[in-house]
Amino acid sequence: MITSKLKEALICFRAGRVTLRYPFEPSVPPEGFRGQPQLDITKCLGCGACSMACPTRCIEVTNEAEQRRMEYCFDRCSYCGECAEACPEGGITMSSEFELATDSVTDLRTVAYLDLVRCESCGEVVGTAREIDKLAQELATKMNVAADSMPWLRWCARCKRESSLATAQVLQPAEAHL
């Protein structure tokens, strides 16, 4: 009985130290470790793709009068990385940060406000100013048109349908095919 306990102690001493002195020294996570997502809010368009992708519903997108409110509640985050995968702007990256202990849960939450654009005709929300500016520039380059030649970027889907024939005539005069 005693000998077996001694043998056990011997084996443990022989193995040396296997744990870190953490938290007295830093712990470096291994390659590929998924920690807390990092936001670069300057890149955020407010499109909400991250919110749609998030399985734990950490990210809430709501429209207020003039602004879109993006709330990131990383206290519920499961570190799956879907939001970073979805973000079209690379505004979310997965860090290796995992030391998230805090006295207040609000420390894990971030709220951002982005300017909204409402339909020029009916006031329905179209998108954020950043989305529309980005599209105007990108489409102008890719399609070789003037950035201000696309008034519909500021119209909601319903109003676009209602003026769809007029829009079409602007784009393609009748004579072209008559």
Partner: protein, 170 residues
Amino acid sequence: MNVLYLNLTRCIYCRACEVACEREHDGISRVAVTLVDPRQPVPVSCRHCEKHPCLEACPETAIEAAPGGAIIIHTRKCISCGLCVIACPFGAIELDAGGKIAEKCDLCEHRQRDGRLPACLLTCPARCIEYGPLDDILAVARTKPGATFVAAMGETGTVVTLPDRSVPGV
């Protein structure tokens, strides 16, 4: 290169195309018959534009210009950012009810695969919608009363004949 033709002198605002589209696409219609004027309904759906802002706007590769001319959304690649919805000049793309996936006319890809024409044009009681090669469609459209034009961005896409709705009398 097959395109849709909307002979708008004939549209009667019955919305059969909406109900048919809805049946063919799991309860979500990708065409919305819209009054552009109190007396002029237009079945608005994707115009399958030659110059396609939706495709250019998509940050993923979820929107494809298929070889036949159709613009197709690959829903499995859609990240639901909604940029194509803003980019479409005609209001033909919308996110589905859950805000998850961008939905639009796919010219009944699933039907065409086994040789059937899109449901909207088959069901249209007034024979307002037709479908065929662009040149044939333009040849037919020019014989109809009203002004004909390509109602899309670019040189090809949906062709429309627009009537003059002035009604003399009372």
